[in-house]
C-alpha cells in the first residue's frame, strides 16, 4: 500500500497505487474500490481509490490533431501544461483552464473544471465532444452528446465515478497569440468588487482576488483582473507570438512550519498584494498567459507552505440572488478568524454542463485554511450559510463536507446515481470521496 493524498495533503490515506501501461491493463487493474487519478491536483479525496488508485498520467499521447478545426483526440493523462506548450505555439489553447495548468485532461473532465471565462464560455466539458470510458462493469464505450449521452453528462463533472476516462475528443481555441490583454480594477469593498465583476460580464476572462484579512468598511476589498486574448498587433515590438513557458523557478523544498502563516503574516501579505495591484489598476497591459492564468504554478509544491498537516480549500458557489449578503457574512467570519490565506478568489459562474458539475449562475468564493484547531467546525458553519442560500461546494476541492451539505447542494444527485448504477451495477468504482458522500453504507 502507498500513502496517497490530494493537493491539499489532507486526508492522507492508504491506497494501492497502480500505474497500468495499456488500456487492457487498466481493465485488469480495476477491482472493487478503484478510481482513476490524473495528476493529483484535486485537493481532497476525489482521486484516492477506496482500495486502489489507478494512475493515468502514463497515458499521455495525442492521437490526432486537425490544425484547421482545432479538434484533438488524446489520451486522458495528457496534462493541460503539455497541451499549452505543444499547441500554443501552433495557435491553439484549451478553451478552459483552471488555476493550475498541471491537471490532466481526464481530471479536468471528471471535475468539469472552470476557468476565468465560465460566466460567458462555460466549463471544460463544454468543449469535450466525446469520451472513451471504461465503465465500472467493464465495458469500453464512446460517450458523447449524441451517443450514450447519459454516460457523457454523468462523466463530465462525475468525479471519475462513472468509470475510467481513457481518451477524449475536444476542441482547442484558435488564438493569434499566447498573450493576454489585462485590465486591473481595484475595488474598495465587496459591493464595488461585485459591481466590477458584473460590469466585467462581457469580458472573456474575469476574476477577483479578495483581501480576506480586510475588515469593517474595507471588507471584501479586491483586485479584479479582466482579460482578453491579445491580437498580434497588440504585442510589444519584438515580442514573440507565444511567450516562453517556464517551468517553476521557485520551489518550496520542505514543509514549512505551520505557524509560518499566521494572522500577522497573512495580513501583511494581503496588504502588500492589494497595494501593489492597485498601483497597476487602470489601463490595459499585455501579460503572458502563464502568470495571468496560473499565478501559483510558478512556485513548485506551493502546497507545502501550509505545513505538514496540510490545508483545506473551501470553494462554494452562491446563486446570484441574495449572494451579496451571504458572501459578506462569510468574509466577515473569515476575517475575524484571521487565518484564511492568500488564495481568496471570487468570480462569477454560469450554468454547468454535467449532471454533477459544480457551477451554477452566481458567485464562487474560494478560500484556503491550514488544517488546525477548530477549522472543521468553522467550515461546517460556513456550509450552513451556503446551503441556506441554495449554494453548494466544489467536489474537486472538498475533503470534509457532510452528506447533508452535499445532498442539499446537488439536487440532480438522484439522476446521477441512477446512471452510475446502470454503468456499474456492482459498485466497482469507489473513491474515498464517493464513500464519504455517495455510496450506500
Amino acid at each position: 500500500m502507498t500513502l496517497v493524498s490530494g493537493w491539499g495533503r489532507f486526508p492522507v490515506v492508504d491506497s494501492e497505487l497502480l500505474r497500468p501501461r495499456s488500456f487492457e491493463a487498466v481493465g485488469e487493474a480495476v477491482v472493487t474500490g478503484s478510481v482513476a487519478r490524473g495528476n493529483g491536483r484535486a485537493y481532497g479525496d476525489a482521486a484516492i481509490g477506496a482500495a486502489r488508485t489507478i494512475a493515468m498520467t502514463g497515458f499521455d499521447r495525442v492521437r490526432s490533431f486537425d490544425p484547421v478545426t482545432g479538434r484533438i483526440r488524446l489520451e486522458a493523462g495528457v496534462l493541460l501544461s503539455d497541451l499549452i506548450d505543444t499547441f500554443g505555439p501552433r495557435g491553439f489553447l484549451p478553451f478552459v483552464v483552471p488555476g493550475t495548468r498541471f491537471v490532466s485532461v481526464g481530471g479536468a473532465i471528471a471535475a468539469d473544471v472552470h476557468g476565468k471565462n465560465h460566466h460567458c464560455e462555460g466549463g471544460f466539458g463544454r468543449y469535450v465532444d466525446s469520451i472513451l470510458l471504461r465503465t465500472g462493469q467493464g465495458e469500453t464505450i464512446e460517450a458523447s452528446r449524441e451517443q450514450n449521452s447519459d454516460a457523457f453528462f454523468a462523466t463530465v463533472g462525475g468525479m471519475g465515478l462513472t468509470g475510467v476516462i481513457l481518451e477524449a475528443t475536444m476542441r482547442l481555441r484558435p488564438v493569434e497569440t499566447g498573450w493576454i490583454r489585462e485590465r486591473v480594477i481595484s475595488a474598495s469593498d465587496l459591493d464595488a468588487a461585485m459591481r466590477a465583476l458584473d460590469a466585467g460580464d462581457s469580458a472573456t476572462y474575469s476574476v477577483a482576488w479578495i483581501d480576506c484579512a480586510a475588515r469593517g468598511s474595507d471588507l471584501g476589498r479586491s483586485l479584479i483582473y479582466l482579460g482578453e486574448h491579445a491580437r498580434t498587433d497588440e504585442l510589444a515590438d519584438g515580442a514573440g507570438a507565444f511567450p516562453a513557458g517556464k517551468n517553476p523557478g521557485l520551489a518550496v523544498p520542505v514543509d514549512l512550519p505551520s505557524m509560518t502563516l499566521n494572522r500577522y503574516s497573512i495580513r501583511a501579505f494581503n496588504e502588500l498584494y492589494y497595494r501593489m495591484g492597485a498601483r497597476r489598476a487602470g489601463g490595459d497591459h499585455v501579460v503572458s498567459l502563464y502568470p495571468y492564468f496560473f499565478p501559483l504554478d510558478s512556485i513548485a509544491d506551493w502546497n507545502r507552505i501550509y505545513g505538514r498537516r496540510g490545508f483545506l480549500q473551501h470553494q462554494c458557489v452562491i446563486p446570484e440572488l441574495g449572494a451579496r449578503a451571504v458572501l459578506g457574512e462569510i468574509l466577515d467570519r473569515v476575517a475575524r478568524r484571521g487565518d484564511a490565506s492568500f488564495l481568496a478568489v471570487l468570480k462569477k459562474l454560469g450554468q454547468g454542463d454535467g449532471i454533477l458539475s459544480f457551477p451554477l449562475p452566481g458567485y464562487t468564493l474560494a478560500l484556503d485554511f491550514p488544517v488546525k484547531g477548530d477549522i472543521l467546525n468553522f467550515l461546517d458553519e460556513i456550509d450552513r450559510l451556503v446551503v441556506a442560500a441554495g449554494g453548494r461546494l466544489y467536489l474537486a476541492k472538498d475533503a470534509r463536507q457532510s452528506r447533508a451539505t452535499f445532498e442539499a447542494g446537488y439536487p440532480a444527485l438522484r439522476r446521477f446515481n441512477a446512471i452510475r448504477k446502470s454503468l456499474d451495477p456492482a459498485g466497482t468504482i469507489r473513491s474515498k470521496l464517493s464513500q464519504r458522500l455517495f455510496d450506500e453504507v
Partner: protein, 246 residues
C-alpha cells in the same frame, strides 16, 4: 522536407526513448523510432505527427540480433543526422548471479548490441564526415556495486566503448555523447525505491539529450547531483566500498 535534420531512436518504445523522440521532433527534426515491436510504436508515431507535424518513420530493430545490424543500417531510407541508442535491460541481478543465460542477455543488451550498432553507424558517419551518436549508458557503469554489477559492468563497457569511439570519431567530424541519466521514473524503474531528489522524469532526460547533441557535450549526467554522488562513490577506497550493501 529533406532539408530537415533527422534523428533515429533505437529503443523508441521506452519512456526515455519516447521523451527523446518528442524533444527532437519538437526541435524540428524528422524522427524515426526503432524497436522490436513496430506495431506497438504506431501510437507514439501518431503522437509525434499530431504534436509536431513532422515525418515519423518506424523500423524493426532487435538489439540482440546483431546479425541483422548491417541490413538494418543499409535498409534505412536515408542515413540520419543523429542516432540515439536508448536500448538496455536492467534485468534481475539476483537471477543473473546464477542464471548464465539471463546474465548474458543483460550483458549483450547493454554492451554488445548498443556498442556494435553505434560502431556501425560511426563508420557511415565518418565516411560522410558528419553526424552525432548518442549512447544512453548509466551511472551504474561508473563503479560495479554489489546490488547490480552485472548490469553495471555492461554499462561500464558501453561507457568505455563510447569514450574510445568519441576520441577516434571527433577527428572525423563525428560527435559522440554519453548520457548517464541516474534515477529516472520509468517502466524500467517501476517498483524500485528511488531517492526523490536524485530522481528525474523521462522528459528531463529527453531534453538533456537534445541539449547535449546541439551543444556537442561529451558526457552528460542528467542531474548534476549525480556527478557529485558518483565522484564520491568512485573515490571510496575498495576496502570501504566492499562493505557497502547498495
Amino acid at each position: 522536407m529533406t532539408s530537415r535534420k533527422s534523428a533515429i531512436v533505437l529503443g523508441g518504445s521506452s519512456d526515455i526513448g519516447r521523451a527523446a523522440a518528442r524533444a527532437f521532433a519538437k526541435a524540428g527534426y524528422d524522427v524515426a523510432l526503432a524497436g522490436r515491436d513496430v506495431a506497438a510504436l504506431e501510437p507514439d508515431a501518431a503522437d509525434l505527427r499530431a504534436r509536431y507535424n513532422v515525418e515519423v518513420g518506424l523500423h524493426k530493430f532487435d538489439v540482440l540480433d546483431t546479425a541483422s545490424f548491417d541490413g538494418f543500417v543499409s535498409g534505412l531510407p536515408a542515413l540520419p543526422d543523429v542516432v540515439i541508442s536508448i536500448v538496455g535491460l536492467l534485468g534481475v541481478q539476483q537471477n543473473a548471479e546464477s542464471d548464465l543465460a539471463h546474465a548474458t542477455t543483460i550483458m549483450r543488451s547493454n554492451y554488445e548490441g548498443p556498442s556494435l550498432i553505434l560502431g556501425l553507424f560511426a563508420e557511415k558517419f565518418l565516411a560522410r564526415g558528419s553526424g552525432t551518436l548518442v549512447g544512453v549508458s548509466s551511472v551504474a557503469g561508473d563503479r560495479g556495486r554489489a546490488s547490480n554489477y552485472v548490469y553495471g559492468s555492461a554499462k561500464a563497457g558501453f561507457s568505455a566503448f563510447l569514450s574510445g569511439l568519441r576520441a577516434r570519431a571527433s577527428r572525423g567530424g563525428v560527435h559522440v555523447v554519453t548520457v548517464k541519466p541516474g534515477f529516472v521514473r520509468t517502466k524500467m524503474t517501476e517498483g524500485m525505491k528511488l531517492i526523490g531528489p536524485l530522481t528525474v522524469e523521462a522528459p528531463v532526460v529527453g531534453d538533456a539529450i537534445l541539449n547535449a547533441v546541439e551543444k556537442k557535450t561529451d558526457v552528460v549526467y542528467v542531474s548534476g547531483k549525480w556527478r557529485l554522488v558518483m565522484l564520491i562513490i568512485k573515490t571510496l577506497p575498495e576496502a570501504v566500498f566492499k562493505k557497502l550493501k547498495f
